[in-house]
Symmetry: C2
């Protein structure tokens, strides 16, 4: 871990607290998108449920995390840095296996979408693929 987590928090005017450091550490270690439950599990449910929810929400608000769309009924989050960005728009692409649930982050190249009116502002662009991964095919 080369990044200074305390500095990251400070730069967003957030207090430096054990919960926030733990949650950030999980994201930097796993380097993929994670649900609330994933984080709780990674930290052996030592953190208060509600505080983790609040931490995720404030990180999204501050732009440290992005909220990633999924077909399930729980949200997923990824470090903003995890997505590629062209200045204005953050991009994520992921493959979710419908059988084992594994999430595979992907690199994206050369995407074009037609028919978006010119006065629309895109802030986040996500690709979600569902199917079967190599192990489950």
């Amino acid at each position: 871990m080369e990044i200074n987590l305390a500095e990251l928090l400070r730069s967003h005017r957030l207090h430096i607290t054990p919960i926030r450091l733990s949650v950030l550490t999980v994201f930097y270690k796993k380097n993929t998108c994670l649900s609330h439950e994933d984080i709780q599990r990674a930290l052996q449910h030592r953190l208060d449920r509600v505080s983790v929810y609040r931490t995720l929400r404030i990180f999204v608000k501050k732009g440290i995390l992005n909220c990633i769309p999924t077909s399930g009924n729980s949200n997923m989050y990824a470090l903003h840095d995890f997505g590629s960005t062209d200045g204005q728009t953050v991009q994520h692409a992921l493959f979710i296996c419908e059988r084992c649930g594994m999430v595979y982050p992907l690199k994206v190249a050369d995407i074009r979408v037609t028919e978006l009116p010119g006065n629309f502002t895109v802030k986040q662009f996500d690709i979600v693929m569902n199917g079967k991964c190599g192990d489950c095919s």
Copy 2:
């Protein structure tokens, strides 16, 4: 409405019932993706909550509807025919306004994603864009 809804249900070996016809009718009329709540509202909450959930689930299972990823905590659904398809893979693209919540379905063209291992099978491919729509910019 040119499609025969009863025939559609019959061809999937589903009983033809008022609830199913109502839900299908809403999808064909609105021709966009809808949440459970959208459907309940469109039908003035005359249908039983649970029955609508079950209807949506069985329609997804039978391939009549697809489940569309969102960043929120409720699922969205669209008619399978609403997405473009190249035989194996269904594609959807939508723009969700972060301010007014409006969902705009989009046409997609010419998408390529690199780095997906060859033994992965993609069944559904969705693009979700978040930002501000024309009215909210």
